[in-house]
């Protein structure tokens, strides 16, 4: 076999084309849809405590999502975005990480944040944009962030967090922290230029980053296959950038746990960036502003309902004796009560003081901003009824 010495490339003398069938990427599955294990599967490291925590977090998020969609319908919050169907992907991946690892999400990873310990009160304060919200009420609902929990604040523009994750991980590596960054995004965001820049740079710099793609089938109304991409999903792109890549069943908490545990080891011990493509389905609409009946069928939704990640995990846990119906029901009732209580409480908390309007634009407000705030307050004093959320406390 002749080789080009400089590039170590095999030389051929007849055209040899490659296409999407040249590389076929399988999907890792450990827990079958019927709730039993594949017999020969490589298992993740786990114990009862870990699996119960994963389960309870998934259940918590599902209840929170249900209640908050209802709250939006009632006009109590302006907007909501649910993660139903994708709880295993965000929760079990977060469970494979060290607490000190950074999480950079897109906007459907409330499960990872809950796993880290974000409280129901903290969720509510953000959703109601009140003065207890860590983000000071400035962003739309579900744009969470928490420095104490190493969860970067969410930004709506798609894909912007992906190259940021590469940069963050570069810093972690240089500081010898022994930590990594996980970056979540959807298959739609993987079309953005930022995705390609991020993977290429991570691969060139060899940084400890885990790119976790939640391939949930839809970007708002645009179906993944045929309209978002015509290749074999997102995974082959990782290989193209010279990166360790795996495709997994995103509705199988054990596959998610196993793949992310291995990815973390590769990232932290070998400085290998990793791409995980988790195959799943967005069971809810894109957001409360979206109605999926306009672009997909009930049959398709029913097919995926049968693969539900929470049902599947519960089946296995019950067979194992790690969960019983009473626990599920008690936990459900307990979470629901907590969510409702927090909702009622947060609703009553006022929006931040109007002085907060000019804070954090820079490290300190500029003189011009202070002047603009003074003018605004003078104006509000003239028309207190028109600005009722803030006019009650201007001093």
């Amino acid at each position: 076999m002749a080789k080009d010495k400089k590039h170590n490339t095999e030389i051929v003398t007849k055209p040899k084309w490659f296409d999407k069938d040249s590389v076929t990427i399988p999907m890792l599955q450990i827990l079958k849809e019927d709730g039993s294990f594949h017999k020969d599967a490589d298992m993740p490291e786990y114990d009862k405590e870990l699996i119960v925590k994963i389960h309870d977090t998934m259940q918590f998020i599902r209840i929170l999502d249900e209640r908050m969609i209802a709250a939006q319908r009632q006009g109590r919050i302006s907007f909501y975005l649910a993660s139903r169907g994708e709880e295993a992907a965000s929760v079990a991946s977060a469970a494979a990480l060290d607490f000190g690892d950074m999480i950079m999400g897109q906007y459907r990873e409330q499960g990872a944040l809950a796993y880290r310990g974000f409280t129901v009160e903290q969720f509510m304060n953000q959703l109601f944009s009140n003065e207890k919200d860590l983000g000071k009420g400035r962003q739309m609902p579900v744009h969470y962030g928490c420095a104490d929990l190493n969860f970067m604040t969410i930004s709506s523009p798609l894909g912007t967090q992906i190259p940021q994750a590469t940069g963050y991980a570069f810093g972690q590596k240089m500081d010898k922290t022994g930590k990594c960054t996980i970056c979540y995004f959807g298959e739609g965001a993987a079309s953005e230029g930022d995705f390609h820049a991020a993977l290429n740079m991570a691969s060139v710099y060899k940084v400890p980053v885990i790119f976790f793609c939640r391939n949930n089938g839809y970007a708002i109304s645009t179906p993944a296959q045929g309209e978002q991409y015509s290749g074999d999903g997102i995974a082959p792109r990782g290989i193209g950038y010279g990166m360790k890549t795996i495709r997994i069943d995103g509705n199988d908490a054990f596959a998610v746990l196993k793949a992310t545990q291995e990815a973390r080891r590769l990232a932290v011990e070998e400085n290998e960036p990793v791409l995980i493509e988790a195959m799943s389905y967005r069971m809810s609409g894109h957001s409360t502003s979206d109605d999926p009946t306009g672009y997909r069928t009930r049959e398709e939704e029913a097919d995926w309902q049968a693969k539900d990640p929470l049902d599947r995990l519960q089946k296995w846990m019950m067979n194992e004796g790690w969960l019983d119906k009473d626990h599920v029901e008690e936990h459900h009732a307990e979470v629901k009560a907590k969510v409702l209580a927090a909702l009622k409480e947060s609703e009553k908390v006022p929006v931040p003081h109007v002085d907060e309007l000019i804070n954090d634009v820079y490290d300190k407000p500029t003189d011009m901003l202070k002047e603009q705030l003074d003018e605004l307050k003078e104006h509000i004093r003239k028309y207190p009824d028109a600005y009722s959320k803030t006019s009650g406390r201007l001093d």
Partner: protein, 325 residues
């Protein structure tokens, strides 16, 4: 005539443009059979096929780069960016490519057939990333026209002009008014010239100028000022770039006073550009400083949206300040 809201007027303009020429294409994120997140393109796939009205992958720089190429080939490319806030990945394609295509090639090539449609503006609880008014970034770039309508009638006539104008146009749609603004709109094709402001209401004491959704705020403010006995002349700029200096300065020479309002933050906004030109051309005629009623210099906030907005009460106060100067 038919009663239409602003979205229906835009849809009607797109429909007529696509019916007129086979090489008019409409595309963007979710704009295919689904009709876009605001439904501006609904029905177009059924009528003209999925090769003329279609979904793009989720990549704004790709959408505008593709549109530049399609327009340079001689087709009419109508590209939707889902929200004005998401136009920035395409900034390079717009600023360095769209706007310079003709000039850099010595007119060997051009992208005159390109129209970029994008919803802009706040007042819809959209927070930082569904509320911005990015016109000034683009007004700083010679080579692209910027147009924004205030109501359904204007939207249809201006959009048809934009699509067939021989220059690339950024067409900014006031999304707060998409369904809120309704009016009588001719069902057939008509155009409203680009680069021409409209004196919406004549008056003699003060000129009040704006564009897009701010025209609704001006209307309410002026109503209140007129109750105080102030005669206001109201101008809709309609085209932000290149703007109609003549109509604006003629009005200010008459009234001697000017208040300009925009949704975007005050610093570096297009109101400042207008103020600079007007003081240059009307200096000795001005009775008071030119007033600017704009957003505050902070990212568009969710919880303090009401406080942030350049609303009718702030415009009314600015008119009063100018009159009492």
């Amino acid at each position: 005539m038919a009663k239409m809201n602003l979205l229906q007027a835009i849809n009607s303009a797109l429909d007529l443009a696509m019916a007129k020429h086979d090489n008019v294409y409409s595309f963007g994120e979710d704009t295919g059979g689904f009709g876009g997140v605001f439904r501006a393109t609904s029905g177009l796939t059924e009528k003209y096929g999925k090769h003329r009205n279609f979904n793009t992958p989720l990549v704004e720089q790709g959408i505008i780069g593709f549109a530049n190429g399609l327009a340079s080939q001689g087709s009419y490319a109508i590209a939707e960016i889902q929200f004005g806030d998401y136009i920035f990945p395409a900034f390079d394609q717009i600023v360095n490519e769209t706007a310079k295509f003709r000039y850099r090639s010595g007119n060997e090539f051009n992208v005159g057939g390109l129209t970029i449609r994008t919803p802009y503006g706040g007042g819809i609880a959209g927070g930082h990333y569904h509320s911005q008014s990015p016109e000034a970034y683009f007004a700083h770039t010679p080579g692209i026209k910027i147009v924004t309508p205030r109501n359904p009638y204007e939207a249809k006539g201006l959009l048809l002009s934009a699509i067939f104008d021989k220059n690339p146009v950024l067409f900014m749609e006031p999304k707060r008014l998409y369904r809120a603004s309704t009016g009588d709109v001719p069902e057939e094709e008509y155009t409203i010239p680009l680069g021409k402001a409209e004196v919406v209401k004549e008056g003699k004491d003060i000129t009040v100028l704006g564009w897009g959704a701010q025209m609704e705020m001006i209307e309410k403010a002026v109503e209140k000022s007129e109750e105080d006995g102030v005669s206001c002349e109201v101008i809709d700029l309609r085209t932000i770039s290149p703007w109609d200096v003549e109509t604006v300065t003629q009005s200010v020479l008459k009234t001697g006073r000017l208040v300009i309002t925009q949704e975007a933050p005050i610093t570096g906004g297009f109101a400042s550009e207008i103020a600079a030109t007007v003081q240059d051309k009307c200096f000795l005629y001005l009775e008071s400083p030119i007033g600017r009623v704009c957003g505050i210099d902070v990212p568009y906030p969710l919880c303090h949206e009401k406080e942030y907005m350049a609303d009718h009460l702030k415009i009314y106060e600015a008119i009063k300040r100018s009159m009492n100067y």
